[in-house]
Symmetry: C2
Subunit: 778 residues, 2 copies
């Protein structure tokens, strides 16, 4: 194997160009019966997107995808999905990946094919040969990925079912086929991360094993079972750990080649098959419970590579088919890929038999629902979960909520998940945003949820004093910055979450809880400085912290991954209240414009990884800005929202690997685009309202979970016609800037007539404005 | 707390003297209804015994006992049970201990009471103050231990049920009561040993947690649940680990004092109760499965300290009462303490609900038996398990066998346990000695065992080529020393184990298997050098390895913890065959005498820890010698066996803390004494014969598992009358040097008339001699 001394950047450019061609599908604007053809899984795999190109079933436990990461350099961020499209070499294929996370982990159970007589057991890097290979002819579609590993001369294909991944490797004729199974390989590696691992060959040839990882979620336990289409001819299990102080007594076997089982902190397996006449298929199941669970999961999904590939393709066509989209090819590709990225997480976490490992590290039995994990709630409460309530079955949405409530029941702290994966809490980001996800689902009437029990879990989280300054928040009405970092952001996010508790409590007739949390929902005011017109961090003595710079962004400062510009709009439940503090509609619009048009030329945000996709101080690459363009509507100027949305969509989404302006964040960036493309957006989940923006597709037919269809149609949509002229709901003029969830679920049509000039008369009155807690007089 | 600068050796002497007094019970020679009074748990806790003085129920999962170990100095051996009687200070009380192992581990979940305002969270040592305390007024009896920790002024009492330990701490009046729960403390500590640990307080005040340990058995997982008789007033969970490369995101809480849960590699908990009017009781259950299992185990054994203490005392009286012994007090104390030490392992390993964690690290469900672990089989196949077949219910013995077979079924290697604890294999010592344990139980007709299935498990172990040179053994007929260490010992131990397979196969009518293993049973000859008259290690080319020194003992040499002197007698199934090679009875007796009378003055065995209790080259402190004194019988000179037994019993067993000549080895040293005291010994388990030695008790009434009684009586027993005059079985003269298992199980009396001179006519003929594979013409 040659060394990989070719400059990475030179390769990158050619690959980016090449892949765009490879992934191209026929241009079309008509509704297709095969939406998987419109998806390009490479979108977001370069630039800031942090998505992965590999094979995954909708919400599948397994994300089987290539890893390209080398060494620890910036792995925490840039290689969050283990892969960057511009990397010239591939390390191998592992079974777990985040789609668009802002932090790195996973990459479990890396498998790499090797051909010939020499089998390197180290990965190698740009300078050192190893099992890593250069790549060519990379293609991907939902549930399928293929690449040629040019060094071993192996065509590698991947597909995935719900709890299985299937590899297919075509080895060069006559050359011995091997696999390296590297239990040491992990995304974002550092000493001590792998607490323990094991690998074992069972009498029937099944290989099983496990890892325990001290990573982002700790301790994370993951198990696998692996079977092959050809018999193993020999194998080696090797431990490469050095400096073990006490090695214990000697196990059986004179050397590693005969061992049936090995455990340790640095294991690698060589699996030999000899020359093969047919491609080798490797079927791998995961489990968070145990090896028996992995074996049962493997057995539960029958079929070979082609069978699994076909069934997963069908599953994707069904899932993506929930919205039939007609649009010019680039936009159609953008939106379908966004929908694809919206349908990956939360991931299924329970085994086929219903067992799952919880945040308490204990195994629990299923209780009438399918457990899910990978909850990136600070991101996904905004648009991702509201989107799923429209495009996924009610039972699936009930699963998400029931998984969150089960997470609270099994939490050692008695609180709902914050940012959870592998069944474990990571304590990443702020807020208790499982609360709006549950409230939104309950308020929309999703069946299969015990909402009264869920409300108790929500209140338990909101009242858990040790968490993130909540004790002070409950006493003072705000989180004091001298006692808790990011206090300003926490105060407003808690207040919004509290409002959703109040909304659900009202619906359930629990007026005591409703009143208590309605009061807390107004707490955002306690951290708002009317004098400067910004949300600011306040100290326990009541004073605002100084010095104050509304453009300053630092981790652990007054704000969370943002500054006063972005966070001063985070009272999605009470924009009317905010606008009054800001001095009315005109001043509010001026402030919104000042945000979008801010001159950043003198500011350097390179230290803040998540700050990307800037339009002035509007930062589309991170979530706190996501609702802001829609706020002009609340000031009676919907045409300004329409202008801003065009500006954002044009600049922040492209059908290329570097086409996402920020981390996809488990679907939130993508869900924003899906909603926005359809012409409306859930600014305040829990309000049961969607604020009207403007459509970006010619036609969209949503097949709703209740069997109804809600169809968006447009007249005159073009680059030039960027303003709404009229809006018709079910054939009648709609003279307000929002539609309700009930209106959508009832089925019907929403027709937009687009024009080149603003309609400054449409939906400008107080009563036309979307929900605010303190109202507009309606 | 003061520093402990008092010289350890000075303290030791006074404590040894003091304790002998404390443990004294009224002298008696009559049969007592309360045999627990005759037991002194301090026997073996100093010197070489490696026993522990704490509280344990018969075969209990929990061994709650004081730990005294300091630092890593020789912890691997001298502090194998965590405790040495001469140590002046106590670290605390932990829940798992080996009884007499030759290697160190366990000491899980150390609890130490602390009083007053300052709570040290480090143990301290001789130079540094900490929670460690000086001790006074130490007492122990089966299921009960008490000591005064003079530094905090706390009287500490311990008791244990099957899966629970209960602590009772009387704190000084008016002083705040605290407990330190140190999850870092472990017997034989070294960096990296604790892979992971966790501690959690549940809403009902139950504390649960776990450890994963890279120790003697790896990875060993153990879980606990803990409840208190008084409410916790506050607590702190602290992680003291340094140099963590990646700490993850911050959990809830501003400081450790508010955390409900913590995990890491170095955890300690401070539990506060305030001043208490009554002693604090702490009830702790263990589980190898999970925390829920520990909670269920805690709940399954109801009652407070006094209740558990009383029920465990009753259980000990019942278990010890299987043999009612009349003897002078010191001998009675020796034998009852030996019986006590014989009834601790194998330990119960399954949870109350039947679940257990297997050698594959997976959780398995119970299948009609209670899972056990802590199998020290190289030791215990000799006399410990044969003793248990006589003094424990058949169901219990079936449990042991079924646990071994379940261990084979769940072994990643498909073989029976070798030296197993915590459900995990340690690969310690040699042989496949689960095989004779199973064969012995099946041949004795113990009910509740599927012996045909067990035979398959035995054969699978004996045929597993990668284990300990078995591949070569099967090809060459011996283990070649140039390919496998300790080859001479392995060859003869395999041959004996093979003979037991053949015996069981014959009984089951499987003559093909019987013939194959009868052939293998003769393999001991392939490593026997007729020229020198010693068992010797042979190379693959057939030559014996040189240079040869029959007194040389080195780890990993030709022999296992021994030399040619001890190992040349290890063909317990074929002494006749051996004696013929040695040149007949007279030459054999001369060689036996040469062994016992060897002058060791020029030999230094201080490098070999297990070599203790030397009588010439007879080494009673380690197992290979254990049957040798009985071999004179096989040469037709029973009176020489009688002489040697007197010599051994007088010199190797004393009713004092340093009274055991070697590691008790989970009951084997003790079972030797119990059998020997009764007058017979199972030289070749699987033969269904016990070789007659001579009795050391006046009378013994064995209540057999089938309800029959077998009563040993003596006439004229005294120090002077050390020879057998006559033996009567059920009133008829017994003119042979053995009795059969069937004779014992039928019930009856065995009466010895003792005299001062040898009866050289008794049981000297060929037909009077015990079983040998190649026979004596019978």
């Amino acid at each position: 194997m040659n060394a990989f001394r070719i400059a990475r950047t030179a390769i990158a450019a050619s690959l980016l160009a090449g892949t765009a061609l490879l992934a191209q599908s026929p241009a079309q604007t008509s509704v297709s019966d095969d939406p998987v053809e419109a998806v390009d899984p490479f979108i977001g795999t370069s630039g800031e997107g942090h998505t992965f190109p590999g094979a995954v079933a909708p919400f599948g436990m397994v994300q089987l995808s290539p890893d390209t990461h080398v060494g620890p350099a910036r792995q925490t961020y840039d290689w969050a999905a283990g892969y960057r499209h511009e990397d010239p070499t591939i390390l191998g294929f592992s079974h777990t990946h985040f789609s668009g996370a802002g932090h790195s982990d996973l990459g479990d159970f890396l498998v790499t094919p090797v051909s010939g007589d020499s089998v390197p057991l180290e990965a190698g890097d740009d300078k050192t040969p190893g099992y890593r290979s250069r790549k060519a002819d990379e293609v991907a579609s939902p549930g399928y990925y293929a690449v040629t590993l040019t060094d071993p001369g192996v065509r590698a294909e991947l597909t995935a079912g719900t709890r299985v991944g299937v590899h297919r490797y075509a080895f060069p004729a006559g050359k011995a086929a091997h696999l390296v199974l590297d239990l040491r390989s992990i995304i974002y590696d550092y000493p001590g991360k792998i607490l323990w691992s094991s690998v074992r060959i069972r009498p029937d040839g099944t290989i099983t094993g496990s890892r325990e990882i001290r990573g982002w979620a700790t301790p994370r336990r993951i198990f696998f079972a692996m079977r092959f289409s050809a018999p193993l001819t020999s194998h080696q299990f090797v431990s490469t750990e050095k400096d073990i102080l006490y090695k214990g007594f000697k196990g059986p076997g004179r050397g590693p080649e005969t061992l049936a089982s090995l455990s340790g902190r640095a294991l690698v397996a060589q699996l030999d098959f000899g020359p093969l006449a047919k491609p080798l298929e490797v079927k791998v199941a995961l489990s968070g419970v145990d090896e028996d669970g992995a074996i049962a999961n493997l057995t539960s999904e029958a079929g070979d590579f082609d069978t699994i590939r076909a069934s997963t393709r069908a599953a994707w066509n069904k899932a993506l088919g929930a919205v039939k989209i007609a649009a010019p090819a680039p936009m159609r590709r953008n939106v379908y890929t966004a929908l694809y990225h919206s349908l990956m997480a939360p991931s299924i976490w329970s085994d086929a038999d219903g067992r799952w490992r919880g945040p308490d590290d204990q195994v629990h039995a299923g209780e009438g629902f399918t457990m899910h994990s990978t909850f990136s709630l600070w991101d996904t409460f905004r648009a991702e979960h509201p989107l799923l309530t429209l495009v996924q079955p009610e039972a699936k949405n009930a699963d998400f909520v029931n998984a969150l409530v089960a997470g609270q029941k099994t939490s050692p702290f008695g609180i709902l998940p914050v940012w959870q994966f592998g069944g474990k809490e990571t304590w990443t980001m702020i807020g208790y945003h499982a609360v709006p996800v549950i409230a939104d689902a309950c308020l929309k009437g999703i069946k299969g949820i015990d909402c009264a029990a869920a409300l108790k879990a929500m209140v338990a989280s909101a009242d858990y004093a040790p968490y993130g300054g909540l004790g002070d928040y409950m006493k003072l009405g705000y989180v004091p910055i001298d006692r808790e970092p990011e206090a300003a952001s926490k105060t407003v996010e808690y207040a919004y979450d509290d409002w959703t508790i109040a909304r659900l409590a009202r619906q359930l007739g629990d007026s005591a809880t409703a009143q208590r949390f309605e009061k807390r929902a107004g707490n955002w005011r306690n951290s708002f400085d009317e004098k400067t017109g910004f949300l600011r961090a306040r100290k326990a003595d009541g004073s605002f912290r100084t010095p104050f710079d509304p453009t300053a962004i630092n981790y652990g400062s007054d704000y969370t991954e943002g500054n006063a510009w972005q966070y001063s709009w985070f009272m999605p439940h009470d924009q009317a209240g905010l606008f009054r503090l800001l001095g009315g509609d005109a001043k509010t619009v001026a402030k919104l414009d000042a945000m979008f048009d801010y001159d950043n030329s003198k500011i350097d945000y390179s230290h803040a990884e998540d700050i990307s996709g800037l339009i002035g101080q509007y930062i589309h690459g991170n979530e706190p800005s996501h609702h802001v363009a829609y706020l002009y509507n609340y000031a009676g100027q919907p045409w300004r929202t329409q202008e801003r949305l065009k500006q954002i969509v044009d600049s922040q989404y492209k059908p290329t690997p570097d086409g996402l302006a920020g981390n996809d964040d488990l679907g939130q960036m993508s869900a924003w685009l899906v909603f926005t493309a359809l012409g409306f957006y859930p600014v305040a989940p829990g309000s049961n309202e969607y604020v009207i923006g403007r459509p970006f597709v010619d036609r969209a037919d949503m097949a709703l979970p209740n069997g109804q269809h809600f169809i968006v149609t447009t007249d005159g949509l073009s680059d030039a016609n960027r303003y709404i002229g009229t809006v018709m709901l079910n054939g009648k003029p709609l003279e307000r800037a929002y539609i309700t969830d009930a209106e959508i679920r009832a089925g019907g049509t929403l027709h937009f007539t687009m024009q080149a000039t603003p309609n400054k008369a449409w939906a400008t009155g107080k009563k036309a404005r979307p929900y605010s807690m303190t109202g507009y007089g309606r």
